[in-house]
Amino acid sequence: MGYEIQEEKVFNSGHAACPGCSEALALRFILNTLGKDAIAVVPPSCIAIISGPQPLSSMSIPVYQTTLEASAASAAGIKRALISKGNNHTNVVAIAGDGGTYDIGFQALSAAAERNEDIIYVCLDNEGYMNTGTQKSSATPSMAFTTSTPAGKLSPKKNVPEIMVAHNIPYMATATTGYPDDLVRKVKKAMEIKGGLRFINVLTPCLAGWGVPDSAGPKTSRLAVQSGIYPLYEVENGETYTLNYGPNGLSVADYVATQKRYRHLSPEDVELLQAEVNHDWEKLQKKFK
């Protein structure tokens, strides 16, 4: 009984993530699955903070801290340099936040995907610029409170997973920390599929930013999946869709009830959100075999 997860210790204790942080948990599964033969590229974000105060590092692999715009370009450059030196084995992985992915680093990511660079790109999506004090990003969902959307965000979340699929990259997957075995399997699969850009969007609830207790990261992540807000699925070569975990009868109301960022919603607002989720899910569902 329980999860069977093999880990190679890369991610270390003593890091500076908040208690219960889902980004730290995601980093644990991602880095410990990638193993030691990897180089990470990290832009400004909570991930950068978690990676360690110089001269200490929480990651027992080389980490390059790049600019917020340039994660995909930096990773592609490192990978090309390795190949030109005859190293075809080391995985280069960019691990960036949603602000660094959906907004500021987006053109570099799209360009790298268009060139089909041989890198793994992981977005740790906590639905906002959390490191700088919970501002909205284009990954922030409809109606959610952030310090820059005090009355709730007016536009829906940008669908970057589907945008990445539209680049016809070899592998795109959504994952989250409440399903660690699924996340680990997707990282492994990304490692096995070589020779192109592999993108994984990992939903990582931000405890302070979303207003949930320190202990509730994995639970909140599962609620997102179970209520249909964040289905876990994967797509190969831009066309083969597989659903891993979809909605299981929980509603948007169940999801928003536990988060302070949705505290201002009226029952009518929740209904609107539910309609949006239903619509997205119906659209996505058609794509599965």
Binding site: M1, G2, Y3, I5, F11, N12, S13, G14, H15, A16, A17, C18, P19, G20, C21, S22, A24, L25, R28, G52, P53, Q54, P55, L56, S57, S58, S60, G178, P180, P213, D214, S215, A216, G217, P218, K219, R222
Partner: protein, 555 residues
Amino acid sequence: MSGTVKRVPSIWTTGSTDILNTGTWRSAIAVHEKRPAPCYGACPVDGEIPIWVQQVRNEEFNAAWLTLVENNPIPAAIGRTCHRPCEGACNRTEYDGAVSINALEQYVGDMAIREGWAFPAPAQESQKMVAVIGGGPAGLSCAYQLRRKGIQVTIFDANPELGGVLRYGVPEYRLPKKMVAAEIERITDLGVKVVAGRKLTGEDLGELEKNFSAIFVAFGAHDAKRLPLFTKSDSRVLDGIDFLRSIRLDAPLKIGRKIVVIGGGSVAMDVAGSALRLGQQAQILALEGRAVMPAPEDEIEDVIEEGALLHDGAMVKAVEDLSGSLLLHCINVELDQNVSPGVIRPIEIAGTEFTLEADTVVLAIGQDPELADWEDRIQVSKGMAVVDADYKTSRAGVFAAGDVANIERFVSTAVGDGKRAAYSIARYLGHQDAVEEGFADSVKEVSFKDINTFYFPTQKPVERGKVDVDIRKAGFAEIRLGLTDEQALDQARRCFSCGSCIECDNCAIFCPDMAILKDADSPLYYKVLDQYCKGCGCCLEECPRGAMGVKEETK
């Protein structure tokens, strides 16, 4: 240039964050902790239900049985007769129905009989001797626990064979005699001396005290209560326990065609079921409404299916002798709610009078212990032997438990009392280490909200099947079908294992700080690294079964 200058960046990674002490951030730390499950809390024998059910799940059947018999030496019998407070308390009730604990207990108990599993012999023998008066569930349980501690035991019983109500009361169709016999033999095989067919009186006490260091009084309650409306000498009026006993002795007392059973408990249902099997018609007159009758609902349902007519919430007011049969003048009643607990005051509902004709009336309205000749030797109050929390009577060296000393008349209660009395007797005899393991008061029982239901897919409970009603009525063969292997494993898998770690590793897996490690030396399997734990509580939340607690820290 002479030599190369090695250029090192001004900031260079020199080591890992694991030298940092993030443990200083927290104000509370999660601890692995075995906590009591509600089934355990409700179990009259203090059965370690989550443990043995887990052993069943792992298909470690002999181990499961050994865990069971720590507290209860007769699981095949209890697995058929218990009133199952465990299932009422089970955390799974709120989710998709209680785990079928009692059926599982029968499953393991029956397997032990089939496989011929024996109790391990006592590690050492003691010269101390204890007399047990009465070989029913209480006496057997006490004798067994004393023998396990090496103490010498002699059971005296009035009946030709041991078992008490299990052998001479509960009918064959609910509890086959061969199961009772096998479980009793296993106990006596531990070296219990048996003196059967000897009814002891208060007079014998002095003699016993000369030969034994302690005496355990467990002769149950066998003096049937009577209603003043019925004359004692009338051969048309029987006591339920006498009738049932006569069937068990293969010499059934004569009854007429039309039977009216008065009573609403197990005894009444057993009388009705037995009369039906003897080919007669049975009607039951119970004071309480069906929902609050003392008999468990499934026993009521069984006899009604088999053809008994139930008049619940009614009582007999007068009896008319029709020379031949008796005519019972009855009336529906409501029970007065404004009375102190234990008191029953019926209020007649005018205009609801009815009559029942009976060739035989069987009274099943309770039994009192036969204590007349004991009253000047041990203190008796409200018709029962008075005991303290250690089952000591007013007389030094004399202990009592079971129906003789407890108003709660259940088989499992008698077994639990018998066990705890044995520990008390052992301590009295100088075995100071005879103390049962339990939980500290500070450790909280696991409630449903402590269970992380994500880890438990819903799955409906499965109960034992029942033999077709026509076959049931035709004889005294057992009516409930035990669980199949597959059903038993399915039920065992449903158990949350509330409060008992099964090493699923969730606590370690969900720690963002890698502050929980497997620890082979710990009885709780894991250790929490003080240096790193930030006190987030993810482990506690993700533990599926509430096997962790919190320790507040003040720095």
